[in-house]
């Protein structure tokens, strides 16, 4: 046909040329003939080229039944039938269903899928293996619900949906899909022995030294709980052992009370040893992280004598809600001290009740002669991390020759006293005054002058001078060892309250100044140069493990530019070097992320360097466990499956009774619109048009040209 049309096109072309070259025919007659022949020639060419035109066609197509097989690991657990797994026990019945569908008059198209954490097409459903780490029914429901070609969904599953989809969301999604869910509920055998620590809970923050309750929900199945014990550890160290008691087959709540230690981050874990025949050992433990924060710091004030300065200090500190204050004042020389915070009782300075858990000591104008051997004790305390504030007055100079000179930020030898008005000026905001916010900052210039100032020879190198008066140091502070010390060179601060020019702002500023000073002295600081820990005690295989490191300098200040590397021993025994990168906006913090698929211990040895010098080493440990949430709870959930089926006007039957679903699964053919394409060559109007054009050509020639 194409050849014939091609010959015809050539003949027409020659006619066009002939018409064009015809002699004796007027142009007015030649042009129409030419146009007609050209048009016919184009139509022929078009037909020969074979373009197509689209069109819609309504056709009947077989209905699609999607059969979804749960290929998660729980389907590999034993079924009731001996020698079978949950999946293999379901397959014979599924084959019968497939055969029924094939034989049915509807002859639906069956498409096979496997679902665990994802939905995938199966080319050979009968060889599917239950290996998936978890089950995500939501994935199946959502994908198949969106597929307009699918008319029915048949699911073969045990319902152990372990991805944690919320039941209401799952049901809502299934209802929205608008397709009946036909469920074959895989039958499970006796559950394997399993002990599961479902939840370990503890308060997220606890004050140091306070008691809190650690509780854990423990589930035991297929095993007698009597005789089982749970080990409680804190950061890997065993704390105690708890008996699970006689809770055969039941869930129980274990509780124990723990006294929080020093401030820090602690991982409390509860673990039960694996049972004989236990399949899922990964759920035998759980942990909770507890942040122990400092209890209200205890501040001990030792005052040399009752005075208006002492009274103002006492009022300010007792009003501070963030402090526990112990006050002792020397009421009679040489060293008769009385407790002034409780019932007034004569209490020697060495009384243990004064010093228990003290975080900072304030010496308020105390002569060294009244302190006995305390200076040495105070020096040791400061070096070990406590704070020391020395408030000025006439007795300040006497401290210059004592052991305290080791930790004080200035040389008090020969310190003098000037009885003059003192106007404090902020020299720097930092150190003790970093907390001194007041209202938009202290308006020192508007406050009354203090009275009296101690003069000193020299401020020690490295000390800060946050407050000055007429250029002379007024508040001097520094970090020494693990602790901090500050000296306030005036005993007349109470003038901010007791003065004709005193205002509410100046009164408040005095209280805030003391609060800020004590807050700085008692601030919890890192006391090791390098501290490292993982953000969790356990990770599922393949999940990222976050290693967190904190680095401080010799003065225990965060160090932002250290070089930090971790040598990590992986669960498989291999080691690798991992750089820990600095965390922005958190000076001194470094992090690295690790992931490994093998199970076992994960250990990181972290080293930090600065300026080529090693600062310190820290070790962090964690555990990589089985990456199978699937086996954490392998119990079939028939209730879930029945609910899904009911909500979608479907049905749920035991897997062995799949034949009951044949009638509902056999969806009849459906009408579908198909897009088709037709060749112009096959269109009748093309032939008609050609005949018309040729006829017109003959008529015109006969009438006008006799050609």
């Amino acid at each position: 046909m194409v050849a014939v049309l091609s010959v015809g096109a050539l003949a027409l072309l020659s006619l066009v040329v002939t018409a064009w070259r015809a002699r004796g025919v007027p142009l007015v007659y030649r042009v129409p003939i030419l146009l007609l022949r050209l048009l016919a020639w184009c139509v022929l060419l078009l037909a020969v080229a074979g373009p197509t035109v689209p069109g819609l066609q309504q056709v009947m197509v077989p209905g699609v039944v999607a059969v979804v097989i749960d290929t998660s690991r729980s389907m590999g657990l034993p079924a009731r039938a001996p020698g079978h797994t949950r999946l293999s026990a379901s397959l014979p019945s599924l084959r019968r269903l497939a055969a029924d569908l094939e034989r049915s008059s509807a002859s639906p198209e069956v498409v096979w899928y496997g679902v665990d954490t994802d939905l995938v097409r199966l080319s050979d459903p009968w060889t599917a293996q239950p290996r998936g780490p978890a089950t995500d029914l939501r994935q199946a429901v959502r994908c198949l619900g969106m597929d307009a070609s699918v008319s029915r969904v048949v699911m073969v599953t045990d319902g152990a949906d372990t991805v944690g989809n919320r039941l209401p969301d799952l049901v809502s999604l299934a209802r929205t899909a608008g397709k009946p869910l036909l469920v074959l509920m895989a039958e499970a055998g006796e559950p394997p022995p399993d002990v599961a620590v479902d939840l370990v809970s503890a308060p997220t923050r606890v004050r140091a030294g306070h008691e809190f309750e650690l509780s854990a929900s423990v589930r035991v199945q297929g095993y007698a709980a009597a005789g089982l014990r749970a080990e409680v550890t804190c950061n890997g160290q065993r704390v105690r052992s708890l008996s699970l008691g006689d809770r055969a087959g039941a869930a129980g709540l274990l509780r124990t009370r723990i006294t929080a230690g020093k401030p820090g981050r602690y991982t409390y874990a509860l673990r039960v040893r694996s049972l004989p025949g236990e399949v899922a050992a990964g759920n035998n433990s759980g942990s909770a992280i507890v942040e122990v924060v400092p209890d209200k710091p205890v501040v001990l004030v030792i005052a040399g004598a009752p005075s208006p300065e002492y009274a103002a200090l006492k009022r300010a500190l007792l009003a501070d809600p963030d402090l526990q204050v112990r006050l002792t004042v020397r009421k009679a020389p040489p060293s008769q001290f009385w407790r002034d915070d409780t019932a007034m009782t004569q209490t020697p300075l060495t009384a243990p009740s004064l010093w228990d858990k003290v975080s900072a000591v304030v010496l308020q104008d105390v002569p060294v002669s009244a302190l006995g051997s305390l200076p040495g004790r105070l020096v040791r305390m400061v070096r070990d991390g406590s704070g020391l504030a020395v408030l000025g007055g006439e007795n300040l100079a006497s401290l210059g020759g004592s052991a305290l000179r080791e930790v004080l930020p200035l040389d008090l030898t020969g310190a003098g006293f000037v009885d003059e008005a003192v106007r404090p000026q902020l020299a720097s905001v930092g150190g003790p005054l970093v907390h001194w916010q007041g209202q938009g900052g202290p308006r020192l210039a508007t406050y009354p002058a203090w009275r009296g100032r101690n003069t000193v020879r020299a401020v020690r190198p490295g000390a800060d001078v946050p407050l000055r008066a007429a250029g002379a140091p007024l508040l001097v502070s520094w970090q020494v060892g693990r602790g901090r010390a500050a000296v306030l060179l005036s005993g007349g601060t109470h003038r901010w309250q007791l003065s004709p020019q005193a205002s509410a702002a100046s009164e408040r500023a005095l209280a805030e100044l003391f609060s800020a000073l004590l807050a700085w002295l008692t601030e919890v600081r890192q006391d090791q140069p390098v501290v490292a820990h993982f953000d969790r005690q356990q990770y599922q295989a393949g999940a990222p493990a976050r290693l967190m490191v904190q680095v401080a300098d010799a003065a225990f200040r965060p160090l932002p530019d250290a070089q930090v590397t971790a040598r990590v021993r992986l669960p498989d025994g291999a080691t690798l070097q991992v750089p820990c990168l600095p965390v922005r906006q958190a000076p001194g913090r470094y992090e690295a992320t690790l992931a490994h698929n093998d199970t076992g211990p994960l250990r990181a040895t972290v080293q930090a360097f600065s300026g080529g010098r090693r600062l310190g080493t820290a070790v962090a440990e964690a555990q990589v466990i089985e990456a199978s949430a699937e086996l954490m709870d392998s119990r079939p959930d028939q209730g879930l499956l029945e609910l899904l089926a009911a909500q979608t006007a479907g049905a749920a039957v035991p897997a062995s009774q799949a034949a009951r679903l044949s009638g509902r699964a056999a969806v009849p053919p459906v009408t579908a619109s198909r897009v088709t394409r037709r060749q112009i060559l096959g269109e009748p109007w093309v032939l008609v048009l050609l005949l018309v054009l040729w006829s017109a050509d003959w008529a015109v020639r006969r009438r006008w040209c006799n050609a």
Binding site: G304, A305, P306, S307, P308, Y310, A311, A312, K314, R315, V329, R330, K331, A332, P333, Q336, D340, A343, M344, G393, E394, A397, G416, F417, V418, D419, G452, T455, G491, H494, R495, Q497, L498, S499, P500, A502, E507
Partner: protein, 227 residues
């Protein structure tokens, strides 16, 4: 110059130089705390019992770690110098009155950390109580319980104020104006504590009564400087 004069000059030169050095370089000790007597208006004898306060000061200096200037100052209630004295005493037998400015100044002083002890020297009460109501309309003059720290902060007074002199019959009473838990004004009534501080020959009181008065005075000052 004669030899003795020369010797005296030599003897004096050293201390004079030292004195000059101290003056130039700053003193080594702070000025001691000074208590003051309130010179109030109203016609009453604010100057009564002149030996009382000095004796009390001496007792405080001897028995406690507090160092008070031996001579009490005198200050008016409206004076800015009032704030230089952490403790102010007032006594008398008659009228006591404050004008508005004095009340404002006195109130600011007391609420800012100052302390006023008023001792009824027999006859002051009828004038003082209305004045203190005007001074503190928002705070009543409240009798302090025997357990109050002012009765226990140095010496123990389990039954409250000691009775020094008889005025109206009945027990002595201690009243206070309390601000934020602190007694800012202490009023001793029907006891005449100040008389007990006086020199022994003024009232010829028994020694134990004078001792009790001085002890209570030590308590008052200790309380004021620790609260």
């Amino acid at each position: 110059m004669t030899r003795p004069c020369y010797r005296v000059g030599q003897l004096l030169a050293g201390p004079a130089c030292l004195f000059l050095a101290l003056v130039c370089c700053g003193s080594l000790t702070a000025a001691p705390l000074t208590v003051a007597r309130l010179k109030y208006g109203g016609g009453g004898d604010w100057y009564a019992n002149p030996t009382g306060l000095p004796n009390l000061i001496r007792a405080v200096n001897q028995r406690t770690a507090i160092r008070l200037a031996p001579v009490p100052a005198v200050v008016e209630p409206g004076s800015a110098r009032l704030f230089d004295y952490p403790i102010v005493f007032a006594t008398g037998h008659g009228g006591i009155a404050f004008n508005a400015a004095e009340r404002a100044n006195l109130r600011k002083y007391l609420l800012g950390g100052g302390f006023l002890h008023v001792d009824d020297n027999y006859g002051l009460d009828e004038f003082f109580r209305p004045e203190v109501r005007r001074l503190f309309p928002d705070k009543p003059l409240t009798e302090l319980p025997f357990s109050h720290p002012i009765y226990h902060c140095f010496y123990a007074f389990p039954r409250g104020l000691p009775k020094i002199h008889e005025h109206h019959g009945g027990p002595p009473r201690g009243y206070g104006i309390v601000h934020r838990g602190r007694v800012v004004l202490f009023y001793s009534y029907n006891t005449d504590i100040n008389d007990g501080w006086e020199d022994a020959e003024v009232h010829n009181d028994p020694a134990e009564r004078r001792e009790a008065a001085l002890r209570m005075g030590v308590n008052i000052i200790t309380y004021a400087l620790t609260h």
